[in-house]
Symmetry: C2
Subunit: 368 residues, 2 copies
DNA sequence: TTGAAAGCGCTAACAA
DNA sequence: TTGTTAGCGCTTTCAA
């Protein structure tokens, strides 16, 4: 509000209504019985003056702001927009506003934001940004700000976790079931647990059916469209060329689709593609994308609710950890491998998803 | 912050540093000279106590919150995510946080948000939501909150406007130049000025070269992927079928691509498609999307700067209106019309973009 | 170079 | 049923 502006306060309302500020406060907050007549006069004064309570002042005394924040790593990927929409919807319903902080995958920027948020005495934080040591989040702990994380596991904070291993496994298993045996994997930034868990799932699925594995099938991406596109060119140059690829998110899968089209490879005829996330655009790609879904909207809503509960002290001291499952969504980007190979016979007898076990894995190649 | 938390205030710092709160405040804000030694003690105390100033208290006395808000109609369309990212980047650099309010194309929800924002004494608002009468924004005017709008023209507010007429014209003209004469138009929600301006541009381009126009080439969409997809099915049923389509945004163009693929029509071989917005995914569709660009990132940054200037009182009383131009980005979704028709001869002699004039237009059909 | 004290606009304990 | 008053944690004027 500019400096010269007339500021209407609760005192003005009290004066016009011929009541005390206490009474005004109480009718506004419905926090004690007030005579009908008095109430009416107050409400009229509010109306006449176009009064709106100053929630800063209220926050100062109540020690709550009605604001929660969401720290995300990027807005380039629609995934975070969709997750944010769900969070926003849930918090709006609960009377909270949400501040969106885009850390652009930079730990420094995320830290700067965290500091700002502490200063703003935000009621809670949904942290979906860079992996980091819990130690770096000390300021939050010191200031006791409730925080929940999504798909990142910090020791002392509540979180909703994805079963990334299972997702990677399902995606790969689907391709194996279709008869593919040369399956590439386009990874996300490898420092993240998401990437390594999905990779482990991929590897495990291969191992479980003794499918071959080649280090140069692992193509380093960084979650963005463009890295998927580059991966396509890389893939095309491989000899023999894989007949399928698992991209660790839909954005890279979309880039992959674009890149494959550039080099004249048809999906799924020449190469099957499966993505991860099931962002809303996934059903509108050409061909529509087979992908792994963890129900973004549902997850976001749950995540927000978890924070709200924590803010309201519902959890006492125990840290909440919820892992949500995932499903394979089959669309048009995957198709049976062409040609008949010996091991396909085995499949016709019905290949079932083997039990999940932990294996020793080859390390991811460095990001290109 | 939970109730039981130890709250460290400026008084604690003052006590530990052996100084007055005035001095602490001054060293923290660098707002008057303080003896080196004293300053050091204060800073040490801040460090030791892990003190962070409460910006609510500061906001209450300074009458500024360091918060701006962005009211958008939807997060389903990546356009707003990308615009938001640009705004967020600009405001972060200026020390502001941004609150994102997703009105979901509902005037009621937008109003509810506006009210909340007034209560929060937000420093400024970037309004990119439902078209509405300026009258409905009275509360803002009364509370003197600086507001800028994007692609929506409200009398008393600053705005960055898009040249939607020109964009519609360019898109259509491009198709005409390629020899298309049966050009469909997939519209956005017709109540919006965006939709009607882009439509006027489309119509004008047709008129300028005396190209035919058919009411049933106008297919009502609502800016979403799905409406584009439905439009494709509608298009496919037309006889004779148009050879090109202009979709009023990229999301619908992407839906169109998906739908056309479903009905077995190839783009651009059977039908050329041009979109609008140039969202980042547009270059990764199959085929890559020819579209109209107004440089989202640049626009968002400019928009934010305009608000910041207004907040700082840079404009005095004059309302700012800036119109930004647009460019045609030619990618793979458009191609020359096949077959040779008489009027193509004319084009070989060089069809130039005729001057823009205002015409009387047929009204848009009702939204389906 | 420093500090005391008066607010900023509310809520809520206490009193009437 | 209503009002007085003491904060909430800061900034800033005024005085020393």
């Amino acid at each position: 509000m500019p400096d010269g502006a007339q500021r209407i306060t609760i005192y003005d309302v009290a004066r016009v209504a011929g009541a005390s500020i206490t009474t005004v406060s109480h009718v506004l907050n419905n926090t004690r019985n007030v005579r009908q007549e008095t109430k009416r006069r107050v409400l009229e004064a509010v109306q006449a003056l176009n009064y709106r309570p100053n929630s800063l002042a209220r926050a100062l005394v109540r020690h709550e702001t009605g604001l929660i924040a969401m720290v995300i790593p990027s807005t380039g990927n629609p995934f975070f927009g969709e997750l944010g929409a769900a969070i926003e919807a849930r918090s709006f319903a609960a009377g909270y506003n949400v501040i969106t902080c885009n850390a652009e995958r930079s730990v420094a920027k995320a830290d700067k934001y965290l500091e700002m948020l502490v200063d703003k005495r935000i009621d809670g934080i949904i942290y979906i940004s860079s992996d980091r040591s819990t130690g770096q989040l000390q300021p939050l702990i010191r200031h006791q700000i409730p925080m929940v994380t999504f798909d990142r596991d910090f020791t002392h904070f509540d979180s909703i976790l994805l079963d990334n291993f299972q997702g990677g496994y399902l995606a790969t298993h689907h391709l194996l079931e279709l008869g593919h045996r040369h399956i590439a994997c386009v990874t996300g930034s490898q420092m993240t647990s998401r990437a390594s868990d999905r990779y482990r799932g991929y590897y495990q699925a291969l191992t479980d059916v003794q499918a071959p594995f080649q280090p140069d099938w692992i193509i380093a991406g960084n979650w963005d469209y463009e890295s998927g596109r580059r991966a396509a060119h890389r893939l095309a140059s491989l000899d023999p060329r894989p007949t399928a690829a698992f991209a660790m998110n839909d954005a890279m899968a979309i880039g992959l689709l674009a890149g494959l089209s550039e080099v004249g490879l048809a999906v799924p005829a020449d190469l099957s593609v499966v993505g991860y996330d099931d962002i809303s655009i996934a059903r509108y790609t050409t061909p529509p994308l087979t992908t792994i879904s963890s129900c973004i909207a549902e997850a976001g809503s749950q995540l927000c609710q978890m924070l709200l509960n924590r803010i309201q002290g519902a959890y006492d001291d125990d840290v909440q950890k919820i892992t949500i499952g995932c499903d394979l969504i089959v669309r048009g980007s995957t198709a049976p491998a062409t040609g008949r190979l010996p091991w396909q016979k085995h499949e016709e007898e019905g290949l079932r998803l083997p039990g999940l076990q932990t294996h020793t894995l080859p390390t991811l190649p460095p990001t290109g």
